[in-house]
Amino acid sequence: MRNYTVGGPEAENAAKNNLVEGDWFKPVIDRGTLKTLMSRSNGIAARDTALWLVLLVGSGVLAFRCWGTWWAIPSFGLYGILYGSASDARWHECGHRTAFRSRRANDAVYYLASIMDFREPISWRWSHARHHSDTIIVGRDPEIAFKRGAPLVHVFLEFFAIRTVISETKKIVMNSVGRPVPEQSDFQPVEEMRGSIWWSRFYILLFTGVAVWCVTVGSVLPAMFIGLPTFYGRWLMVVYGITQHAGLAEDVLDHRLNTRTVMMNRINRFFYLNMNYHLEHHIFPTVPYHALPALHKAVADQLPAPHSSIWHAMKEIFPTLAKQRSDQTVVLTRVVP
């Protein structure tokens, strides 16, 4: 299996092959059209955020009332998806600061969603910037979620955030005492560590507080609302996330070869905030989520055909991941116009 360590031996190869901060393919688009698509507003994101929070609180109240009955299962199921999966797209869009026009609103939602996703917000901002510079460049990209040759059980465990939470906990504990983990130092400037230290301490305080609360009341109920949904509500985020890059090319400077666009229905696009247009997002990260369908239309003739559904994408992803277990040269290819 290749060494995916950020800053590891593959990073040197990437540099030698001019894959670091490379010149990525860009489709041709009229500047006026792009400018319109990049326009920011607060209204759409405020509506979508309000709906998300109302559903989150509503399902939470329902789950609280149903605690001890079978109805608690679907109620927590919905609450978990809103907390542990839908938060990921909010984290992502507000991390780019494109969801709202207001920087404060973007940051407020970003920090809230970071807690829900159990991500220390400062280091993840830098990790995500690197993911955009060097998308699926081995040794450079810290966000390669589905590595070639990795046991499929890792994918299964990811549906419940097990491996992610273990590595994030390690990072948070190390950061709380002022020590970055080795990979973090590769993409996060040392001057930005201070923020990571304080956020890590806050996370330890928060989740220890929830644990103490559970012990005090003799019930797991508080953790069912804060903390545990990151595990039991994560699965939908992984369903969406696996469609982004899994099985596609590594070490290329063309997002058309390593990123997928998958058509999804309105409900999924609400949970996922249009990140199903992932290829378009990678090429033009300044376009806010609500303009991605229009961007998709504007450049569709220059991109590979999108997948017609999540199922359609899964049908190529899982067999490829299975084949890559024994042969890591297996890769999904794309016909580019």
Partner: protein
């Protein structure tokens, strides 16, 4: 290096309102931003964070957003106002004279 002077870099009509255009002086690429109230500002085009040209970015009032990681700069002062941009950029005096945009460079 020669003494700075006002240099004509563009016609004002070539820069859309609330947008940015790229000009070049002595091999240095400069982003010229024209605001909705018809002011012009000049700032280095190369982002201080990574390999990206701000002339492909997004103008929002007196800020310009980098097309690569959404870092932002104040076009008046050059200050980096949103991460991952951290280091400021050089700005240059810029004015409209008649139909022309001039930069003091």
């Amino acid at each position: 290096m020669s003494e700075p002077t006002w240099k004509i870099v563009s016609k004002i009509g070539e820069i859309a309102s609330d947008d940015v255009a790229c000009v070049e002086i002595d091999g240095v690429k400069i982003a010229v931003v024209r605001t909705t109230d018809n002011q012009v500002f000049a700032i280095d085009s190369q982002c201080s964070h990574g390999r990206a040209s701000l002339t492909d970015g997004y103008v929002d009032g007196l800020e310009i957003e980098c097309p690569k990681h959404n870092g932002r700069f104040n076009v008046v002062t050059g200050e980096a106002v949103a991460s991952p941009a951290r280091m400021p950029l050089q700005t240059y005096p810029c004015r409209i004279t008649g139909e022309c945009v001039e930069i003091y460079y």
